[in-house]
């Protein structure tokens, strides 16, 4: 900008007035371009009315320059003469251009010397930018101020960030901060302070020294030593004695005061008061001489108390005592005298004090003061509530509170009398508000509940109304069907058991490869069996037990085979559908309790007498043994029953007679039955699926669930994390006392009776250097130095990694 201006000044000063061009560029990097451009334009404007080519060329240049630039104001030229110039298309030339001071005197050619001088002056003027900028608007300045203030405070506050975070993270915070560590000291501290004095001690020390026991230098810092010195025992004792004395004196004084307060004699009190007054006056007189300022204060106080008296109804002869005295005055001289006295007092008190100079002063002050002083609450007259701008609903309370406001507000008894009242009233108010709040809360809750009920009820009713009939019908149907099902299940169970017994007869011829493996142990069963061992060493007893089965294992004779096939054929015909599943699930009773038994040799056999008893017992046992198969099959039946009870029932919703003929003996069609049978998803596999000889209850144990955590709390994102953190017991039964203390240490420890100051700036400075308040508990038996070292070590390790 500046450059372009200067060029113009040098070259074409004279022609400036006729044709100047607006140049408005803002960015510095575009400066040169601007310069070139302006020159072009100027040249174009110089030969006005020149050829069109030049003008076109100029336009072209313009267009090109406008292509490269971001947002540039169009340079326009004035083509028509008019007073009103449209702001959009045509510019008044030289409109936005700054006019140089020297331009103004460009036409004054006649006095060149004077001109140059003025020019110089103007130039100087131009150079020193003493002219003030236009002030920013209030809004802008405020905004700037706000921004600056925000930055400043945020910077200030963010300095605390690390401390805050540290304290949040800290395992334990000990308040007040900056505490001396209490408790037992390290060995080195104790030893270093101690010196061998007695010969015995010296000898022992020498011995230790000779043996070269590892002892370390004291680790006391200067600060620590200073603090140790500061806590000398004598000083503490003296201090304590002083405190004790003060306390004792105080108690004596209190006792005395109490005693005196209890005295009921009026005369005594009167005399006492008089004495006090006298003393007071005496003191006041002295004070006037010695300390006039304090005396003035005192005077003010007196004045205040007088005004209070005046305002109160005391000594108005309206009290009970005064009235009784008035009645008595006719007859009693003493009473009359007392009344007189009181009236005098009253007169004294109610007499208006006229202090002319003071009033004038006040008036003057009032005139001198501007109006706004009265707007707010300058307590000019602290006693008079009416002088304050506000009116309150409870003038009495206000008055009382006003009495309390000024620092020199009357004697102590007034305060003592009024304070509680005020407090009580405030309390009442608070109570009222509390009650109101509670009531409001109830109301809101009730409303909420009502709303919720309404919301909840609506869909429920609809559902009920819809589902009621169908549900009933469904139940009816399912009852019927379940009966059927039970029968079916029973039959199938029986058949399966039967088949289990007969299977061995049937299967070998039908499936030769499968029979080849082991006819006794069907391999299709669960892997638990396989784990228990396929090789079954048969004891004599087992042979007895399972005699029939063993015989069945042998290659079956033809007759039995045919018989079995005959038996199985009709069954398979009727229940082919679920027969397959049943067969798959069927458990061979032979496979339960297959653990091989080891015979133990006992050194002495039971005595003969026992043997006699045993024979009986043995018979029983044999009987039991023969019944053993029954035991097993009973158990299996029981298990099956449990399993089937756990399975969800198929819901049959078929309605006979809809869409087809109904009536006795007519079954709904198969397609319909198929359509309206709702199959429920099978439950998760049973826990005892693979344990043949075990039935595990699938019932939920809700009694423990009541004590379990049902939702994982905040920092944890999944139950496993939470469970892992509570996996170790905390109590004394499982841990050492020391560990328990450390594990269950409270998060915040405060010293009883100590004042907890807010954290100070020094703390912050310290905090920037090292960890201040956070005290790690769990790196147990190490000192603070060590801790730091271990942390460093860790860091080191990290680096290595």
């Amino acid at each position: 900008m500046a450059k372009s201006k200067t060029t113009r000044k040098k070259g074409k000063v004279t022609k400036m007035t006729s044709a100047t061009v607006v140049v408005q560029g803002t960015e510095d990097d575009e400066e040169e371009l601007h310069q070139a451009l302006t020159e072009d334009v100027i040249s174009a404007s110089e030969d006005e009315g020149g050829s069109d080519d030049e003008r076109k060329h100029c336009r072209l240049l313009e267009a090109i320059s406008s292509l490269g630039g971001k947002t540039r104001k169009k340079l326009t030229e004035r083509s028509e003469a008019s007073i009103q110039v449209s702001e959009f298309t045509v510019n008044a030339e030289g409109e936005g251009d700054k006019i140089n001071l020297s331009d103004l005197i460009g036409t004054l050619d006649k006095a060149p010397t004077a001109l140059t001088a003025t020019k110089k002056q103007l130039k100087n003027l131009e150079h020193n930018h003493t002219a003030l900028d236009t002030p920013l608007t209030r809004k802008e300045t405020e905004q700037i101020q706000r921004v600056v203030a925000f930055e400043k405070t945020s910077k200030e506050v963010s300095r605390w960030q690390s401390v805050v975070v540290q304290n949040q993270k800290a395992e334990q915070l000990v308040f007040p901060l900056n505490q001396e560590p209490s408790g037992p000291k390290r060995m080195e501290h104790v030893v270093s302070g101690w010196k061998a004095q007695t010969p015995l001690e010296q000898e022992i020390f020498n011995l230790l020294h000779v043996n070269q026991q590892p002892l370390h230098n004291p680790v006391l810092t200067q600060n620590e030593e200073a603090t140790m010195k500061a806590m000398s025992l004598e000083e503490a004792k003296i201090r304590r004695a002083e405190l004790q004395k003060v306390r004792a004196l105080q108690s004596y004084y209190e006792a005395k005061a109490r005693r005196e307060k209890k005295i009921k004699s009026k005369t005594y009190h009167r005399v006492q008061k008089k004495v006090m007054r006298k003393e007071y006056l005496k003191r006041f007189d002295e004070m006037v001489k010695t300390d006039p300022a304090a005396a003035l204060e005192e005077l003010k106080k007196m004045e205040l108390s007088r005004m209070k008296e005046r305002m109160s109804l005391k000594h108005q002869n309206s009290g009970k005592w005064a009235r009784s005295k008035a009645i008595m005055a006719k007859y009693d001289d003493g009473a009359r005298k007392a009344m007189q006295q009181q009236l005098e007092v009253n007169k004294d008190l109610t007499m208006k004090l006229v202090i002319p100079t003071n009033e004038e002063d006040e008036d003057e002050v009032a005139e001198a003061l501007p109006d706004f002083v009265n707007d707010a609450e300058p307590i000019l007259d602290p006693i008079n509530p009416w002088m304050r701008g506000k009116l309150s609903t409870e003038p009495a309370a206000q008055e009382e509170s006003n009495c309390l406001v000024p620092p020199a507000a009357g004697p102590g008894d007034v305060k003592a009398g009024d304070g509680p009242d005020l407090l009580r009233e405030e309390e009442e108010q608070v109570e009222e508000t509390e009650e109101e709040a509670i009531l409001r809360g109830f109301e809101e809750r009730r409303k909420l509940r009502r709303a919720k009920d309404a919301v909840e009820v609506a869909p429920v009713v609809m559902e009920e109304s819809e589902e009621m009939p169908t549900g009933k019908k469904a139940e009816m149907v399912t009852i019927e069907s379940s009966d059927d099902d039970d029968e079916v299940v029973e039959i199938s169970e029986f058949t399966s058991l039967y088949r289990g017994l007969v299977k061995d007869h049937v299967e070998p011829p039908v499936e030769p490869p499968r029979a080849g493996a082991d006819p006794c142990v069907s391999q299709g069963e669960g892997p638990a069996l396989l784990e228990e061992g396929l090789v079954r060493v048969r004891t004599l007893e087992d042979m007895e037990l399972l005699g029939q089965d063993v015989s069945a294992c042998e290659p079956a004779p033809q007759t039995t085979q045919t018989l079995s096939t005959e038996q199985t054929e009709p069954q398979s015909a009727t229940k082919q559908a679920d027969g397959k599943r049943k067969r798959k699930k069927m458990i061979d009773p032979n496979e339960v309790l297959t653990k091989e038994a080891k015979v133990i040799k006992v050194p002495f056999a039971p005595t003969a007498v026992e043997d006699v008893e045993d024979t009986d017992e043995q018979r029983f046992i044999i009987k039991e043994a023969f019944a053993g198969d029954d035991v097993i099959s009973d158990f299996l039946k029981d298990k099956k029953k449990q399993e089937s009870a756990g399975m969800p029932k198929v819901v049959d919703l078929t309605l006979p007679g809809w869409g087809e003929w109904g009536g006795g003996g007519l079954q709904p069609s198969r397609s319909k039955r198929k359509r309206f049978r709702i199959k429920v998803a099978p439950p998760p596999p049973r826990k005892d699926q693979k344990l043949l000889n075990v039935i595990l209850s699938e019932k939920r144990n809700s009694s423990v669930a009541a004590h379990q955590v049902s939702q994982v709390m905040f920092p944890f994102t999944n139950p496993a994390q939470f469970e892992r953190t509570i996996r170790a017991p905390v109590g004394h039964t499982w841990n050492t006392g020391n560990a328990v203390q450390k594990i269950t240490a409270p998060k915040i420890v405060t010293q009883l009776g100590a004042i907890i100051e807010p954290i100070s700036r020094e703390e912050l400075v310290k905090g920037e250097n090292q960890a201040v308040t956070g005290k790690s508990n769990l790196r147990s038996d190490q000192g603070p130095q060590q801790k730091r070292r271990s942390q460093q070590k860790k860091k080191h390790k990290h680096k290595k990694n």
């Binding site: 609506a458 006992v602 043994a625 144990n701 009541a706 379990q708 994982v712 170790a728 050492t736 070590k793």
Partner: protein, 592 residues
């Protein structure tokens, strides 16, 4: 104590190689071994020069903080003493998990902190394990001599006098076979003869506390939480006496009790009756906690799992059922024998269950997975199984008591010890914290020495055999404060520390079950009774319908209102749009 037998046995029977107690500077870790050796060598050869490695260690060690050493000699054993790995393993509580990722710094902090606490506790426990110095005793025969052939008299002669005095017989032939129970700290013995003789005594000093005849059949006797009270299951009712034989209670709710078990941490007395009922009595408040009908006939086989307070019952159909007071059906039903079950015992850790049945078999089960581990065939069968604190099993066959060692891990072919009593064995119990097996039989009581049976180190705060009466009182108060509620009895005692994964419905169901009603249910309308024939069933029905219709009407009204509102809003919006789109011209007024 337990180790006393072993000390004197050393002369007669060669013991296992006894390890010397480890000192803390003996580094046990394999990585530390070389270090330790080097240290030693250095120490021997050049005491002044220190190994560079050690030096480095010292500088890192915690105690050499200042660097300057007064005496000029460095600490030989810097840092805290190392803890052997197997001890650390002993006190390991669960697996350490992976740390959560960094962005969850709060979570990470919590996890890290809890891990640190766990580790600290583990380390301290391992370190303090040093304070359990006693070893268990054992018995070992000469070459080709079976330990089971060593008679009790031989053992009693060989051991010291106090230990030898623990083998004794009480001849009580008059009042029939005896059942017995030791108190929790193993100090007191309670005997109950079938024909009514009940006595309790401090068996070590043989001091009789009380003796009486209840003049009734006695089925079982059991100490309660202290030696001040015991329960006796008599012919009809359950009675509770104090240690002077004064009857405190007769509990009529508990009838025909055959077997009893006391759960010490729950203060529950579990009883199994001839009528098939399993009942729980809270002895701290004297209330019946639960009564479960097992539907399994006469219950005369009973055991408790000390690990989780589950009661095991054996039945005549060869099954063993597991019960808790919180469930009316068995938690687990196992088929153990092809004949009836004669006896059941569960070991202290709650891992193994030993059963014996009519089929003369003795089986060992892992009751965490319910799988059989071992099966033994005893020619004469076994009854009265008992497991000691250290896992010795005693089984009685007729009048012979056999003790087996380690029945679960490796198959056993012969007993560890055997002893013939004078009569048929009726009850057997190992004495806690003592190497003693008490056997009650038809002719009285026999206390036999079984080296290695008892736990050598007792927990003085839990069961202290040497406690004074003052300590006992204190313990009682503490135990009552620490009492575990019966609701917390479940198969897996660690379940409490797991998050409940149940759904809202399940929880609601539990709530309904606990309260007895559904708190969220809508109350049903019941029409008021009116007189003068206005409460006829028809009228009542009508009123009901009216109410139902009214409710329905409300719902419908609400929905209609909502719909109207929506409609109105829609219309307004449309109108506005139309107004914006087609501005009215002045000529629109003429449009029709």
């Amino acid at each position: 104590m337990a180790a006393s037998g072993e000390t004197s046995l050393e002369n007669t029977h060669v013991g296992k190689k006894k390890r010397l107690p480890k000192r803390y500077w003996e580094v046990t870790d394999e990585e530390g071994k070389t270090d330790g050796k080097k240290q030693k060598e250095d120490h021997v050869q050049t005491p002044k020069l220190t190994d560079p490695k050690i030096k480095q260690k010292n500088t890192r060690g915690p105690r050499t903080g200042g660097g300057n050493v007064i005496s000029g000699k460095s600490d030989q054993f810097p840092g805290s003493a190392p803890i052997p790995n197997e001890k650390l393993k002993k006190f390991k509580r669960g697996e350490k998990g992976k740390l959560p990722p960094r962005p969850h710094h709060k979570l990470r902090d919590a996890v890290v902190r809890s891990e640190a606490a766990t580790e600290l506790a583990q380390k301290q426990n391992a370190r303090y394990d040093l304070l359990l110095p006693e070893d268990a005793g054992f018995l070992e025969g000469d070459e080709d001599e079976d330990t089971c052939t060593i008679s009790q008299d031989d053992i009693a002669d060989a051991v010291d006098i106090t230990s030898g005095a623990k083998y004794f017989n009480l001849v009580l032939s008059q009042f029939g076979p005896y059942r017995l129970d030791y108190s929790k700290n193993g100090r007191h013995l309670l005997l109950g003869g079938r024909r009514g003789h009940v006595t309790c005594l401090d068996w070590q000093s043989k001091q009789l506390m009380c003796e009486m005849n209840v003049m009734e059949t006695v089925n079982d006797v059991k100490w309660l939480h202290t030696e001040a009270m015991f329960a006796v299951a008599q012919k009809k009712w359950l009675y509770i006496y104090d240690n002077r034989g004064i009857e405190l209670h007769c509990i009529r709710k508990f009838n025909d009790v055959l077997r009893m078990q006391f759960l010490p941490y729950h203060f529950l007395l579990a009883t199994a009756s001839a009528t098939g009922f399993l009942q729980y009595l809270d002895v701290s408040v004297g209330q019946e906690v639960a009564a479960v009908c097992t539907k399994a006939g006469r219950l005369d086989v009973m055991a408790q799992n000390p690990h989780n307070a589950i009661i095991h019952l054996g039945h005549a159909n060869g099954t063993v059922t597991l019960w808790s007071p919180n469930q009316k059906e068995p938690l687990v039903k196992m088929l153990c024998h092809s004949g009836g079950v004669r006896s059941v015992a569960v070991d202290k850790t709650g891992t193994y269950m030993v059963t014996s049945g009519m089929d003369k078999k003795l089986k060992v089960y892992d009751i965490r997975s319910y799988k059989p581990l071992q099966s033994y065939f005893l020619p004469a069968g076994a009854s009265c199984l008992a497991l000691s604190q250290r896992g010795l099993l005693s089984a009685a066959t007729g009048d012979v008591v056999q003790v087996y060692r380690d029945v679960w891990s490796s198959p056993v072919t012969k007993p560890y010890m055997a002893h013939r009593t004078k009569g048929t064995v009726w009850g057997a119990h190992f004495c806690p914290f003592e190497d003693v097996l008490g056997v009650g039989h038809a002719e009285g009581f026999t206390s036999m020495i079984v080296p290695g049976a008892g736990e050598p180190n007792f927990d003085g705060l839990d069961a202290n055999p040497y406690r004074s009466s003052k300590q006992r009182q204190e313990w009682e108060v503490k135990a009552l404060l620490d009492k575990i509620q019966p609701e917390l009895i479940c198969l897996d005692p660690g379940q409490l520390s797991q998050v409940d994964h149940s759904t809202w419905e399940q929880r609601h169901q539990d709530k309904v079950q606990a309260l007895g009603f559904d708190p969220l249910a809508k109350e049903k309308f019941t029409p008021r009774l009116k007189t003068k024939g206005r409460s006829s069933s028809g009228k009542v029905e009508k009123r009901k319908k009216q109410v139902a219709h009214e409710d329905q009407r409300d719902v419908i009204r609400q929905t209609v209102e909502d719909r109207m509102k929506i409609e109105k809003e829609r219309k307004e919006k449309e109108n506005k749009e139309a107004a914006v789109a087609g501005q009215k011209s002045a000529l629109d007024r003429f449009r029709k």
